[in-house]
Symmetry: C3
Subunit: 284 residues, 3 copies
């Protein structure tokens, strides 16, 4: 089934709401890509706050519109902050996004995500195929660690991934997003496939983290009944920004560092016509 | 009153002293904009050290020329380090700069700033209008949280802000800097207004943090009798860098990511003639 | 003695192995330059993981090919993680690289490095002349703190530095790298001198940290019998990237911020012919 006009309307509305509402996004995230996350939230029209101390996460999350939890450089004390902020956000009906970065890389990350899933209801869980598979299987025996890539492992095919995502969505109540060559988004019933993107996105650090951060803005700005569309729009927009950035890099004979800059700039310049023309979204 | 020749001379001397002295600046700061802070200190001619462990902050601050405390990603253990480093800097007569990032966003930030103001004498406190107002009022009941903008709230007019800044300066003994469309700098008696800058500065993360970091270099290099002039120079120079950066961005049809880079580069290229020609400073 | 054909072959092999093996590099590093470190590891062909919590460093280091320990923003809890990860890496025969950033700046850094040298066997220790001298002398009485520069202090001459490096290498069993105008690399017997580089590298934050991170990739990809050559290749390649980046900056009339970007991009574009043509390596 092709993407129909009413769906296109959802995209337009999702983007417009971010620009109009300028949602505040609370991030408990890693110190590696944090600056890129802050800047991409600003670029898409949101406003970022980074705060992870147990003494303030409830206050911070209360003035925000959404919460993004990223376990990239996890440490013992911030786990408590993640749970506290997550519970508070649930109480306030704020959307909460989970990015289980490198979950397969240590028992500690595995344990933390299990704990988070027990204590907090997530609106969205976004990872690459390997990360989502670890959560799906619920153990850390995978050897398929794919810590730095948003590429979908070749050991999966799209239908397998869709099946896994749907089941995980039904089990957790979260929208599941698997990013890769083809991105998959599902709420357990509807499935969106997105074919935007460029392979160079896997060559720089942080495109996954940035997308999760941007989802914070999109979910924070959208109605609760339109979260799936908001998430889908953010995924397509990120991929499209990668396409634009790659064109710029080629044009200027540049490389990966400027690519990252162009991704963020493309997000900041993305308007409705660009998004509508460029979005490659299929709905099932 | 227009800016007179002797004032212009102060600007030249302030800039020259940074280049000649290459002051070491100790930063206890947030992990979001820390890299930009380090690079802008290098760009203006200083040398940055970031260190926040309680075991070393006294040693570090002792070999430095100034200390910058930024509460952007506050955590419980670094508060003790801030106080310890602040007291040591006071003992050594090093200038200490406070950036109360997002103070209105949590009771924890409010409490921390109160505590810091009790324990440490600050040479400079820099914030946007909302942040300075929270300190001025001494409570956290404000709903005017403006965590990501250096724009002056429209609910203030310049005269109100000047009055508030003067009183806060008299109460704390610190030079108060309110950055916004018009920047205000006062030591409780003299007031400088600066009209440099570009709206794009509010669209990237960290221009406020970078300015506070750069003040560390300017104050660390200047005589204690010339701190007000050093601070004023740094504010004008940052605004001017924003103007140059914006021109570059337009020229190259680029966006916010390259803007940030051009701000830092403009600082690194700023010489006396550029600064003298471009500075828009009024003295009262 | 000039650099001979078999040595050139070592360079080619070192670079090729990084591209082929795509080594995973575990970094316990500072929050100032961490993003640049991640991106330069990706740029040269490796894959970075940053993780510093005591609960996971053994797991993380076990799936990696090498470990880089950087004390730039040291804190009490990560010291234990450094030791734990270091011991595990030793057990697994993974190369471990130490970057003693600013060791002369505090007793705490001095103490930490002593402790690390007692508990962990390092394959490589990289610093500027001041930093290596502090380790060599084993005390913190130096006043020659050169925390932000990879420039070799003028108070040293190359022969003095070589003598010091050789002795320290024999004492620690580590390859010693002193970066500066001329880089020195020794395993206690053989000595390499490298004359690549550009003075602008000292004007941006993080070239030293980035080089240490990149050594993680080169050592992680090389045979244990070829570590010296792998390290030498990474040092020459970093210097050469500085030369290319400087040419780009001049060509585009740009400054230090774009220089950093061009350094990382030059690393990502560096191929065997470029490296062979540009490397300025002398062997003794």
């Amino acid at each position: 089934m092709d993407y129909k006009d009413d769906k296109l309307n959802d995209i337009v509305v999702s983007l417009r709401r971010v620009k109009e509402k300028a949602p505040l996004v609370h991030n408990i995230t890693n110190y590696v890509t944090v600056n890129d996350c802050a800047n991409i939230i600003l670029a898409c029209g949101g406003s970022p706050i980074m705060a992870d101390d147990l003494n303030e996460v409830e206050d911070i999350t209360s003035i925000c519109n959404s919460l993004v939890i990223n376990i990239g450089t996890l440490n013992e004390s911030t786990i408590l902050s993640m749970i506290k902020a997550g519970k508070k956000s649930n109480e306030l009906n704020h959307p909460v996004i989970l990015d289980p970065v490198g979950i397969g890389a240590s028992k500690f990350r595995m344990y933390t995500v299990s704990k988070l899933l027990e204590e907090v209801h997530f609106s969205v869980i976004r990872g690459n195929a390997s990360e989502i598979k670890v959560i799906y299987k619920g153990d850390d025996t995978t050897t398929d660690i794919d810590i730095n890539s948003d590429k979908q492992s070749t050991s999966y095919n799209t239908n397998e991934l869709i099946g896994m995502a749907k089941q995980l969505s039904q089990r957790t109540g979260a929208i599941i997003v698997i990013t890769g060559e083809i991105d998959i988004i599902t709420n357990g019933e509807k499935v969106y496939k997105i074919k935007n993107g460029n392979p160079m996105m896997g060559k720089i650090k942080g495109t996954g983290c940035m997308l999760s951060a941007m989802m914070g803005a999109f979910c924070g700005a959208s109605k609760s009944s339109k979260q799936l569309e908001a998430v889908t729009t953010s995924v397509s927009m990120m991929g499209l920004a990668g396409e634009y950035a790659y064109a710029k890099v080629l044009e200027n004979q540049r490389g990966m560092s400027s690519f990252r800059m162009h991704v963020i700039e493309s997000i900041s310049k993305m308007d409705e016509p660009m998004l509508l023309t460029g979005a490659k979204i299929e709905c099932y």
